[in-house]
């Protein structure tokens, strides 16, 4: 006789896997081609420096989106962010800066050198090319485009953290990386919620945050 609990579990499992696959394929932005900067065995300082470089890109990305989105910048995109999106992006920019501070402190504690952050749009775009981000932020016009671009970056950084956690050795660094990766995954969820409100299949598309694109 079939155990009804087992049957239900199996059915839900199969359904969940199929749903996750379909949703993932549909929801993940295609603008990014992730690259592993950490493919070879490396020490913790090298791993942290690599993560820090991506976090610096995230800070610039959020700050630029806010600058353009609330009308500080000059151009046709001025004022594209809605009243619901602007405070979310502002909060996330602050959290990305906190990540940079934490990683910088960890890197310094390992006698590593903190990389210089991008301070110009040209340097930002150069970093994006290094990360194999194909879409130029200069082409972003609408709030939806900005949000999807940021979702793409959050997806990319999740992949970097996953690589990093596989390679870091010290407990302290592993914990920081895990805490930040989890926060970046929350960012991606909230950004997706802004794009498609109330659609939890899109907001949390997979049971495994892998940074897949």
């Amino acid at each position: 006789m079939t155990d009804p609990r087992t049957t239900r579990r199996e059915l839900v499992r199969r359904g969940a896997a199929t749903t996750a696959a379909v949703t993932l394929a549909a929801a993940v932005p295609s603008l990014l081609e992730p690259v592993s900067a950490l493919a070879k065995p490396v020490d913790d300082a090298t791993v942290l420096a690599s993560l820090l470089r991506v976090e610096q890109v995230m800070v610039f990305a959020y700050e630029r989106a806010l600058e353009v989105g609330v009308g500080v910048g000059v151009g046709v995109e001025v004022g594209v962010l809605s009243a619901s999106a602007q405070p979310v992006l502002s909060s996330f920019a602050g959290q990305e800066r906190a990540h940079v501070r934490a990683l910088s402190a960890s890197l310094r504690s390992l006698a590593g050198t903190v990389p210089a952050p991008p301070t110009t749009v040209a340097a930002f775009e150069s970093e994006l090319r290094h990360l194999r981000v194909r879409r130029s932020p200069a082409t972003l016009r609408t709030e939806r485009q900005h949000l999807r671009f940021l979702i793409g970056l959050e997806t990319l950084i999740a992949r970097h953290y996953r690589y990093a956690i596989a390679r870091l050795s010290a407990e302290k660094q592993l914990l920081i990386a895990a805490e930040i990766m989890a926060n970046e995954a929350q960012h991606a969820t909230l950004l997706r919620e802004l794009v498609t409100p109330g659609n939890f299949r899109r907001a949390v598309p997979s049971g495994f945050v892998a940074g897949m694109t």
Binding site: S91, H99, L175, V204, G207
Partner: protein
């Protein structure tokens, strides 16, 4: 080298790959080789030339989080009946993901030659009587999972296993955010997801 090549295939991963038409599984070179003897490493999961030993301590850690995943599954199965609208939709999605986590953990434990803990026949879930109580209970359950994975990750020996756990931790953190949102709370209150979540 892609880290994904090191990850043992669970049903959900296979389904993902099959649906995406990636055909990566066919090219994967994950080999299972027993290491024998009474030494602590029970089994070597070998990808290419990168041997990664799963130790008894790793199995114990995985079974600890599996116990909590099974409790979370029971919580969602019991609570979903009292939810409606967005809460019910989110709970249905998250239940499927908790089941996928349990399946992944079970298959990883089995692949290492060990036995996964089975779900208990019952769990002390209390008697939440309305949606708010259910969402509060699910939030507590998810917070326990976040805490467990944060404790687990530094303890796991193989890097690929830490990466699997980190991917699940990140997903549990997303659940925490959505549940906070459904409860009218700030969904991402801090820059670091900590055990206090």
């Amino acid at each position: 080298m892609a880290l994904d090549e090191h990850l043992p295939d669970g049903p959900s991963r296979r389904a993902l790959l099959r649906t995406a038409g990636a055909g990566i599984a066919a090219g994967s070179s994950l080999l299972l080789a027993g290491c024998g003897g009474a030494a602590k490493p029970r089994r070597k999961l070998v990808a290419g030339s990168d041997p990664v030993a799963v130790r008894d301590e790793d199995i114990a850690v995985l079974n600890e989080v599996l116990d909590l995943e099974n409790e979370a599954i029971a919580s969602y199965e019991a609570g979903i009946q009292l939810l409606s609208g967005h809460g019910r939709a989110a709970a249905a999605q998250f239940l499927g993901q908790e089941l996928a986590h349990a399946t992944k953990l079970e298959s990883t434990i089995r692949a290492a030659g060990a036995k996964p803990h089975p779900p208990r026949s019952s769990y002390p879930l209390g008697n939440p009587s309305d949606e708010a109580a259910v969402l509060r209970q699910l939030s507590t359950t998810e917070a326990s999972l976040v805490n467990a994975y944060l404790l687990a990750i530094p303890k796991l020996t193989p890097g690929w296993l830490r990466a699997v756990a980190a991917g699940i931790l990140a997903n549990e953190s997303q659940h925490v955010s959505v549940l906070r949102m459904l409860r009218g709370r700030p969904p991402v209150p801090g820059a670091f997801v900590t055990a206090a979540e």
